[in-house]
Each structure stands twice: as structure tokens, then as C-alpha cells.
Amino acid sequence: MSQHILSVLVENKPSVLARISSLLARRGFNIHSMAVGPTADEGMSRMTIVVDAPEMEQVKKQLHKLVNVVRITELDPQTSLEREIMLIRVSAAPGKRGELLEIGTIFKATVIDVSTASMCFQVIGEPRKINDFVELVRPYGIVELVKSGRIAMGRDTKTRKLRAIG
């Protein structure tokens, strides 16, 4: 089953998150990740939902039936900006810290906590980069891992020349 990214603008009303997750569950669509936060307009929130579904027409139409859902945009992974944040605590005996720091540098990861037995990295980036980092540090022993869920927006294709790369 393929993953699709939906950017959903919703009214900032009580239970709106429950309405969306309940609807997706009831219609048999599997939520891979979901990230919610306020927007520049305080009456609205933005949800980035990654859904496992064979096709998205029904998902989008059913979501649109919710009164509090204002706009739904399906983002094409090829032309959208995706980011995720991960905090990962890795076993790090004093002799291993140097190796781990090197890996961290390559990934622009930040060490946000360190103890005698472990180090905690903050990694920000595209989901693939984050997954690569996980695989590289896995042999050292992952103690704990948490991800924010993906957030995404479309690239500004109207004023393409002006956009910065990244």
C-alpha cells in the first residue's frame, strides 16, 4: 500500500482531531503519521497526515464531508518539502562517543544530552535522511526513539525562480 501526504487545513475547534482520526479509522484507512499545529491564522490549524491507502479520492472526499475541514491538499512527494524531527538516544560508552559524533556531524545532528552511558541526538530532515541515521546508529544500540511525525508543504511553483534550494 502506498503512502500519501495530505495537508489539511481545519477549523481550530474542539474534537477536530478526534473527528479526523475517527473518520479515517471508520473508513478503513491507516494513519502512518499525523502532525498538528496552529497556523498563522489562529482560527485554523494545519494537519499533515500520512495515510496508507491504495487511492486517495475517497479519503479526500470523506474528509471533506467533515464540517470543520476547510481545505485538503494532497502533496506530491516529488515536489513538496517534507521535514521530520527525531530525538534518538543511543548507547554510547565513552570509547564510542567519537564515532557517533562523526556520524552526527554528517547528518547535521545535534547532541542535546549526554551521559556516561548514552548520547541523545536531535535530527531534523527529510524522512529518508532520518531513517538513514537510525540505521547507521542501530549497531550501537538504540535506547529510545521519538519522531514528531512528518510536516510538509508544497513548493512555491508559481515563483519558482525566487525560491531558495533546500
Binding site: 474534537s15 478526534a18 479520492e57 475517497q58 472526499k61 464531508k65 464540517v67 470543520n68
Partner: protein
């Protein structure tokens, strides 16, 4: 500025919406709302069970086209309302449900009669509200009625904590609606209308496949004009019976699992289906992979999510059924109706060769189909006919000649047994000058008979024909056909209850017919009574089955016409 309680604001808001009747049951959390209703012109009908109140609101909405209102308390009352809400959601019945809730400070503490009503009803409503401030009440009520009645109609629930009902507020007229996420598409886009006309012109074997959307949108006149202008035969789904008069030469009756041969086969052999206000329900399509295999599809519905859900159409049209038909008619205008002789002759031959049939032996047990036909003959097609769910519902839909919309009320999508009696009461309250007759199975009847007490107490003279075959007939039919005749938990017995005594005990007139010759006189006697509800017990043939039948999930090509045709 003078203040009023949230409860009075609620009743005032309902009055502003033009509400004339509320069906309900009081209780602790909703108590504050039951005081100001005493001073209101709104009539309150005291149902005997909250489920009954909900189905009454539905029946009222079906019969009048207006929003039905049910009001109950918190906790178990709200959960009892879930079935009518789910029923109204799938059958697109406009309804507003008002539930009491424990006070806001007690919410979440497992207080007495607390249930998470908005959470429980989230998937059973079109939208719901949990109100935390009495000042919100005018706007919330306005929005609720707007959402319930527009687009694809449906139920909306308003949950009101007791302290919100008791709280003071200054009445204000509702603000302009602010629903940025709710903008139903009503007007059809011109492009697909043009494409649709091209397909209609090119088709040789078209069928209009129409349903509840025609009734809800009051599109029956436009449907008739379009069918006649294009000379296209019309099948009417269970929800769409009455969309075109059954005695019209282009009317083919009901398709689907228990549809007649012509309606089913015309769709199977069509090269074009013009589907309006329908949702390709599994009870119509059978196995969707083998449904109408040679047909191109024009699908018009006010709910975009229905389009392409089951079958991807060649021409999708989002819009209100009446607007769509008006547009189709205006684009078709001026063209002569095609002759379509070959197709219409084929269809007519099917109608002649494969009519619905049953045998009523003069000495045999009463056939349920005979009761439907006699009732239709004696009460007339202008009767509002209400049914429950099961065999009797199918026979009613098959054998009654529907001649106008909003005269047929039943639970289609959810299939709610126990729907008929309370829905008939709601219909009669909304249309007091019309004859309202319910046909109910004995299994269904035993689920909600207590509402006949409501009917007696409130002076609502409905009539109920109980088809007493002593069994859950449809389940029994499936056990006979698909479980080798191993009958399990379907026997209701014919010895009790005594429906005549039961009716009498509830303040109704009870009548009974045991033989075919008693059927007509019993119906006539029931029709002569108009000051009390009447229950007529028809002791019907226990072995009768509903035919034609397409086994669940089977192909509509494999329609079984009668018991003799069983494999």
C-alpha cells in the same frame, strides 16, 4: 438588557427555526429545557423510549421534508438515540437531536448519567456540537438546522450541559453563518451536463436509476419530464419509490436484491445508466464487478463522496438532483424524444413475461403480498405507507403502487427493525390530515410497540398492520436458502402475544384476520376508525419467501424468480 437562561434561549432558537413539534423524553440533565417549553407554542410529544423519539423525528422529516427534532437527556437517553441517528445519517434524513449533559465541571468524572455523547455519536451524525457557553446557543442552533437541511441532509446533535442550560445569557439573533468548511455544491457544473447529454444521445439502451436523492430534492416533476422527453425507463430504488408513479409506462419499479426481473435485467443490459440521487448500494448492485457490465455511467449526487465510491462514472456530476435535472432538461430542450422502440419493446416484454407473482389460495393461509395489495386497493395510494425492515418491507415496496413522493417511509440503509411504529407516529404528527398506515413484521413490531401508548396518549391515530408469520422471516428465509434449512433463533411463535389484547391494553383498537376472506373486512374496519390508533394482526403464511432474489454478493444476472427456480 434582560437576560434569559440557556434553556429558554434553546427553546427560543427552536421557535426561530420554525419548529412546531419536538419528540422527546425528559430526564435529569435536560430538565431545564423542559420548563420553558411549557410556555412555548412548540408541541412536545412524550415518547416512551428515546429510540422511539428519534424515529418519530425521522418519520416527521420524511413525511414533511422539514427538520425533525428529538430532545432527550444525557447518558442512557443519548445512547438510546444512537440508532435513530445512524439510521438518519445513512438515509439522509434531516434531524436535529438535543441531548442534555452533566454539568461542565462534572464532565469527564463518570458522573451519574454521563456518557461521552459527542464522541459516541461522532460517526453517527453529519456533525455534532458540545456547547460550553449559553451565549453560543443561538448560533449553534442556527448552524445545526442549516447543516441538517442542506447539501446531503442528515442528523446533527447538540449536547448541552446542565449548567449551560441554567446559565444566563442575553438573547441575540444568530450571527451570519460562519462555516468555512461547509459549502455544499448545489449547482451542477455545465461541462459534465454537456457530456451527459452526449452520452444520452448516443445510448440505445439507457436506464434512469434514481433513488432517495430525487425525493429529498423535490425533483420528481423534473425527473418525469426528463424521462418523458428522452423516453428513458426509470428504476426506483427502495429509497426512491414514488419518485415516478408506478403506473407510468416508463416506470420499471424496484431493482436490487429483491427487485423485479425487469428492473434488475434492464440495468444489467443497459448501455447507459443515468444514476441520480443513488449510491450504488450493495443491495442494488449485487457483486459490483458484474453489475451493469456494459453500461456507461452518468452519476449525479449532491454528496461528492458517493461519486466513484463503488463504480467510477464516465460522467460525474456533483449537484442537487433537481438542479441537475433542470440543467439536463434545458440542454435537451427542443429535441424530439427518440423512439427507442426496440429497447422499450424488450423491456415491455420482460414486464409481460416476468411479473411479480404469488398465489393466494382461497382456503390457504394469508399471503402477505395479498395483504399489501388489498391494503393498497382499500386505503389508496395517497396513504402514507411506513414499514419496518425485512420480508414485509420488501413485499410492501414490491406490491404497493406508489404514485407520489414522500408517501413511503422506511429504514433503508441501516435496516433498523422497530422503525415503523414510531416513524408512522412522526409522519402522522407532521401530516395529520393524511392516512398513515404502517406495515410491520411481528419481529419488528416487538421491538418498539410501546410507542403505541404514545400514539394513544397523544391522540395520534396511526394504523399498523402486523404481518404475523411467527418468525424473523427474512433470517428464516436465508437459513432455508443458505444454511440447509437449519433454523436457528428465528421462531417467534404465533401463540403470543395476542396482538388484539396488546393493542387494547395500549389504548388502541385491535383487529385480527386469520383467513384470506377476513383480510378485506379487517382493513375496511381499520379505515373506518379515526379517533384511535388501530393494530391489525394478519396471521400470514409462515413459509412464504421474498422473490425475486439475488443472493448477497451474487451477480444480478443470476436472479432467482421464485421458489421453483431455486438451484
Amino acid at each position: 438588557m434582560s437576560t434569559m437562561s440557556g434553556a429558554r434561549a434553546l427553546i427560543t432558537a427552536l421557535e426561530h427555526e420554525g419548529v412546531e413539534v419536538v419528540f422527546g423524553v425528559p430526564g435529569g440533565a435536560i430538565l431545564p429545557a423542559y420548563d420553558p417549553i411549557l410556555d412555548s407554542p412548540i408541541r412536545h410529544i412524550l415518547a416512551r423510549h428515546e429510540q422511539g423519539a428519534g424515529h418519530m423525528a425521522e418519520g416527521y422529516a420524511w413525511a414533511t421534508g422539514r427538520v425533525g427534532v428529538a430532545m432527550v437527556t444525557s447518558g442512557p437517553a443519548a445512547t438510546n438515540l444512537v440508532t435513530p441517528l445512524a439510521d438518519a445519517l445513512v438515509d439522509s434524513v434531516p434531524m436535529v437531536a438535543i441531548t442534555g449533559q452533566v454539568a461542565t465541571h462534572a464532565v469527564g468524572n463518570d458522573a451519574f448519567q454521563e456518557a461521552y455523547t459527542t464522541g459516541i455519536t461522532m460517526p453517527a451524525t453529519k456533525h455534532n456540537y458540545y456547547v460550553t457557553d449559553p451565549r453560543e446557543i443561538p448560533d449553534v442552533v442556527r448552524e445545526a438546522f442549516h447543516i441538517a437541511a442542506t447539501g446531503r441532509p442528515g442528523p446533527v446533535l447538540i449536547d448541552l450541559p446542565k449548567d449551560v442550560l441554567n446559565g444566563e445569557m442575553v438573547w441575540h439573533k444568530p450571527a451570519k453563518l460562519s462555516l468555512p468548511g461547509y459549502r455544499p455544491t448545489v449547482d451542477a457544473h455545465p461541462r459534465p451536463i454537456k457530456d451527459a447529454i452526449k452520452l444520452v444521445e448516443a445510448s440505445e439502451r439507457p436506464v434512469l436509476y434514481v433513488g432517495g436523492g430525487i425525493i429529498k430534492a423535490y425533483a420528481h416533476r423534473e425527473l418525469l419530464r426528463f424521462a418523458e422527453a428522452t423516453r428513458i425507463p426509470v428504476v426506483t430504488t427502495l429509497m426512491g419509490r414514488g419518485a415516478i408513479p408506478d403506473d407510468h409506462p416508463l416506470a420499471l419499479g424496484m431493482p436490487g436484491m429483491h427487485g423485479n426481473y425487469t428492473a434488475v435485467t434492464a440495468m444489467q443490459q443497459a448501455d447507459l445508466l443515468i444514476a441520480i440521487g443513488v449510491r450504488f448500494d450493495d443491495r442494488v448492485t449485487g457483486n459490483p464487478a458484474t453489475f451493469a457490465p456494459g453500461a456507461r455511467i452518468i452519476h449525479a449526487d449532491v454528496d461528492p463522496a458517493e461519486i466513484g465510491k463503488v463504480r467510477v462514472p464516465d460522467v460525474p456530476i456533483v449537484g442537487d438532483a433537481r438542479k441537475v435535472l433542470e440543467e439536463l432538461l434545458s440542454k435537451w430542450d427542443g429535441r424530439d424524444a427518440p423512439e427507442r422502440r426496440e429497447w422499450l419493446d424488450t423491456v415491455a416484454a420482460w414486464q409481460r413475461d416476468y411479473p411479480l407473482r404469488y398465489n393466494q389460495h382461497p382456503d390457504g393461509p394469508i399471503k402477505p403480498q395479498y395483504v399489501v395489495e388489498e391494503l393498497n386497493r382499500l386505503a389508496g395510494s395517497d396513504t402514507i405507507l411506513v414499514s419496518g425492515v425485512g420480508q414485509h418491507q420488501m413485499w410492501a415496496s414490491q406490491y404497493w403502487k406508489f404514485t407520489e413522493p414522500r408517501k413511503w417511509i422506511n429504514s433503508g440503509g441501516l435496516g433498523t427493525m422497530g422503525f415503523a411504529v414510531p416513524a408512522a407516529i412522526g409522519a402522522k404528527v407532521g401530516r395529520p390530515d393524511e392516512q398513515v398506515y404502517a406495515i410491520d413484521g411481528d419481529g419488528c413490531f416487538q421491538m418498539t410497540p410501546q410507542e403505541l401508548i404514545t400514539a394513544s396518549a397523544e391522540g395520534i391515530p396511526i394504523k399498523v398492520a402486523v404481518f404475523n408469520n411467527g418468525a424473523h422471516g427474512m433470517v428464516k428465509q436465508w437459513q432455508n436458502l443458505f444454511y440447509g434449512g437449519r433454523l436457528s433463533a428465528v421462531d417467534l411463535g404465533k401463540d403470543f402475544p395476542d396482538y388484539v389484547k396488546l393493542a387494547d391494553a395500549m389504548g388502541c383498537v385491535g383487529l385480527r384476520a386469520d383467513t384470506p376472506e377476513e383480510v378485506g373486512p379487517a382493513i375496511e374496519k381499520s379505515l373506518a376508525i379515526d379517533d384511535r390508533p388501530v393494530v391489525v394482526q394478519f396471521v400470514t403464511d409462515s413459509e412464504e419467501m421474498v422473490f425475486p432474489m439475488v443472493p448477497a454478493g451474487g451477480s444480478n444476472d443470476d436472479i432467482i424468480l421464485s421458489r421453483e427456480d431455486l438451484p
